[in-house]
Amino acid sequence: MRRLRIGEPSELDLLAMACLAPSLLYVLVLFVYPFLYGIYLSVRPMKVPGFSLANYIAFFTDQYQYKTVGITFRLAVPNTIVVVAASLLFAYNMRRGIWLERTVTTILVLPISLGVILLSQGILGFYGGKGWFNQMLLGLGLLEDPLVLTHNFTGVMLSLFMQQFPFCFLMLLGYISGIDPSIENSARTLGANPWTVFRRVMLPLIAPGLAIAFALVFVMSFATFPSAILLGQPTGATRTIAIAAYAQAFEQFDMSYASAIAVIMGLFQLAGLLIILLLRKRMVMAATMGVGKR
């Protein structure tokens, strides 16, 4: 085959470009432009003429604002860990199929189809002060006073877990059940017990899928908005960074400041993703080094 030099036009290139154009246009119009426009807006503050980082400075000097970063991390990080860990536990144990698999999977996945609002209403009703959950515990005499599980941090965590677990579980189940069973069978016949198989063989193979799960759940949790409003305290304990941006945009009508907060949020999400990717690299390396040449 003829080797193409860089910059050399050819029929193939033109065809490829033509095929690429619609999707490229789509990305440019619907993602790149709004994204860049948001960045542009964020450095054109309402109160200061010309380009300025005033919005960013304002955010990081106002405790009421910068505290939202901490709150969001405190929600997103534990939630991500709990969701991914629970999904891994279920998915790993269901990798070879289980009894009544379809039914179990349907039940686990059902919340995903209901939408956040209905789910939140359900959680409010069930876990609320007068909800069945508390009534049951009170009735059994296990509690003196009802547990406060909604309109606080716990409420948001519950809601996030229920929204994200099905999605994360399905993703990991697909990933794990795609691994050739004879790989773990061969490890067993070579003398590895189930735990060693998981640690030395399966975990390194699952690691890439696990990293993607961590990344997606983290980004979704970090951007949490409806749950934090419906089940949390949107003015206090669960005032996440998304709520801060919303308040600036639609309560203070300061689009510029709101854009700056959105950009800050994006940067933190990006930082989170980078950390996850670095951890993944280390995890895979550790697993392979443990069995490599010594």
């Binding site: 790989i183 069978n185 697993a287 010594r294």
Partner: protein
């Protein structure tokens, strides 16, 4: 320090839901033998191997090694080596890591591990491949590494689950010889699962033919090849021509004469038939003599229908004047439409019991 076994005995029944995959499949295998489970897909041969390995629980039955019952042991406690059809190497480990895996789990000293991995790589003729990853190896190389990985632990029993099925024809023959060499040079006891009768015949001391979870025939390759017990085994062993006959007469030395739609056919049998009983006469395509002497026993006439060129020989279908078709394989060139005399040498025709169902006739 190498452990050897004197015998492996088992009796296994396996049901998946309502489907019975193995029905009282029982066998005793002596040490240092090479035993093959042979059968079409779905006959239960792989399931049997996995149950012996401990990877699948049996529904009912026992597995004994010498005087010890082992069917309650998990696979990691059985000390068997296993080789899989799709190699099943650990993709995230190097060749060294793969072979060393079992030794590392036994907490062997690093020096010993290095030495034994080296020895294994030389044994499978891949020295210097330590640092490659499985993805960088060809199928044949991967299967050699998989064999090395199983053998490095000096298993008392080696289980091979269709290890050559994923390789191309040329490599398959090479690896077949390799497996035979390793088996005899290492004094192994091996169980080999395959659907390929050539592999089974060429490798084994003992062949076990299975169908629908049942043991149909067990014996030396020669017995299975020359004296199949029924139509199913015969079909599997390369008998392509089957004729429904009625037994017309029985002679001395297991000779038998059959009546096939008015045509006489003579052959031999190891079964006992009553005169007039239905039977199946069978012959391999390469045992049919094309253009033979019309005065010889079992001479039939027909015309050549289809010819397949196979290099040294032709394989052809002859439409018989008396009705029916005959597969032949001959060095004499034939052409479609040609009228030929075909002779079925009586010592090559075997008479088998007629089957009510199953098999081909």
């Amino acid at each position: 320090m190498k452990e050897t076994i004197d015998s492996l005995r088992f009796r296994i029944t396996k049901r998946f839901g309502t489907k019975t995959v193995l029905r009282d499949f029982a066998l005793e295998i002596r040490g240092k033998q090479f035993v093959t489970f042979l059968g079409p897909s779905g006959c239960g041969k792989s399931t049997a191997l996995n149950i012996i390995a401990g990877l699948i629980p049996a529904t009912d039955g026992e597995v004994w090694i010498d005087e010890k019952r082992i069917d309650h042991l998990p696979p990691e406690k059985r000390g068997f080596g296993m080789v899989f059809q799709n190699y099943a190497l650990f993709p995230h480990m190097t060749v060294f890591g793969n072979i060393a895996f079992g030794l590392q789990l036994q907490r062997r000293p690093a020096e010993e591990i290095r030495r034994r991995v080296q020895e294994m790589l030389e044994l499978v003729q891949l020295p210097g491949f330590e640092d490659r990853y499985p993805g960088q190896l060809s199928g044949g190389q991967q299967q050699r590494i998989a064999i090395a990985r199983a053998l490095v632990l000096q298993p008392r029993l080696l289980l091979l689950d269709e290890p050559l099925s994923n390789l191309d024809a040329k490599l398959r023959i090479e690896m077949r010889a390799e497996i035979k060499r390793l088996h005899s040079s290492l004094d192994l006891t091996s169980i080999y699962v395959t659907h390929d009768q050539v592999e089974a015949l060429s490798l084994s001391d003992w062949v076990v033919v299975m169908r629908d979870g049942l043991l149909i025939q067990a014996g030396t390759p020669q017995e299975i090849h020359d004296q199949p017990v029924n139509v199913f085994v015969a079909d599997f062993m390369g008998f392509r021509n089957f004729f429904q006959v009625r037994v017309a007469g029985l002679g001395p030395n297991r000779e038998v004469e059959g009546d096939c739609d008015g045509m006489k056919i003579r052959g031999r049998t190891r079964h006992t038939f009553a005169p007039g009983a239905p039977a199946v006469a069978a012959i391999r395509p390469d045992d049919v003599v094309v253009g033979g002497d019309a005065a010889a026993p079992n001479p039939w006439r027909g015309s050549v229908e289809i010819v397949e060129y196979l290099g040294r020989e032709d394989e052809a279908i002859v439409r018989l004047e008396a009705g029916g078709r005959l597969w032949v394989r001959t060095g004499a060139r034939v052409a479609p439409g040609e009228h030929v005399t075909v002779v079925l040498p009586p010592d090559r025709v075997i008479f088998l019991p007629a089957e009510e169902s199953g098999g081909r006739a």
